[in-house]
Symmetry: C2
Amino acid sequence: MSCIPELTKKLRARGYRITPQRLVILQALHEGGHLSPLQIYDRVHETGISEPTVYRTLDFLYSNGIVSIATRGNGHMTYELSGDSHHHIICRSCGDQLEIASQLLEPAISLIERETGYQLIASHLTFLGLCPKCNSISK
Amino acid sequence: MSCIPELTKKLRARGYRITPQRLVILQALHEGGHLSPLQIYDRVHETGISEPTVYRTLDFLYSNGIVSIATRGNGHMTYELSGDSHHHIICRSCGDQLEIASQLLEPAISLIERETGYQLIASHLTFLGLCPKCNSISK
DNA sequence: CTCCTTATTGCAAATAATAACAATAGTTAT
DNA sequence: ATAACTATTGTTATTATTTGCAATAAGGAG
């Protein structure tokens, strides 16, 4: 969806700067997929990047729609590159995860955009639910 | 949606226990609306409830669908009672919040439930977007 | 009502995340 | 290239959140 040159252009246009730290963290996310802040720190701290920078960079990338929060189970967040749009359901009982194709949500999203005037950034939503197995047990 | 007697019944059926601490925290959420863990702790610590208990109780209530995460701006989460179902859009640029009626999402949610077999817990979703004002500026 | 089982709590300590601020280094213009 | 402007970084210190474990108490059985 957004390759590096595109990204840098967009960010610079907004007055932000492209730093080695940001590129390294993007790279780590590219290689690692879903990662928590500390997992990212583990991967990059040998280059001299500090912990606060990891957190700040993730906030920054998140606010700019470049990474998304992939899961928020029990407070622990993991981040991943936005891009390929899909969503997750997590079973609140067994923790199982399932991907949802983005098409299932597209109608609702454009409806919301029309109703509210907002432009949504909805590349990775996470739903909480009960998987069929746990659902039948809990009855 | 779920009054206290109902709740206690449901939780006990699952093998959990109803403690004074849990009731006090529920009460605080009932009175306070959106609250962060530490805001809740401020409200209840005079009753002797410890900080870890606040966090653990919120996790517990969240896993059981009794409270929802209301916002996750910059990592700071606030919790609120589930129940009256509505959703939020937060403008990633100015932070403005808007409520979305749950009806807008209901079709998509039941579609997902049919497709996946999961039963969704989707009383409070948070979307990130750009409000009309910020959207026009950033062009 | 009393005993038993074990979920839940508080305490103390460890880890994760954020804030403040001076120093550094992208970026644009000269 | 060089200079100037200021976003971004690292350091240090602070605050927030989680963990381990012994002590407590909720809820069911007798």
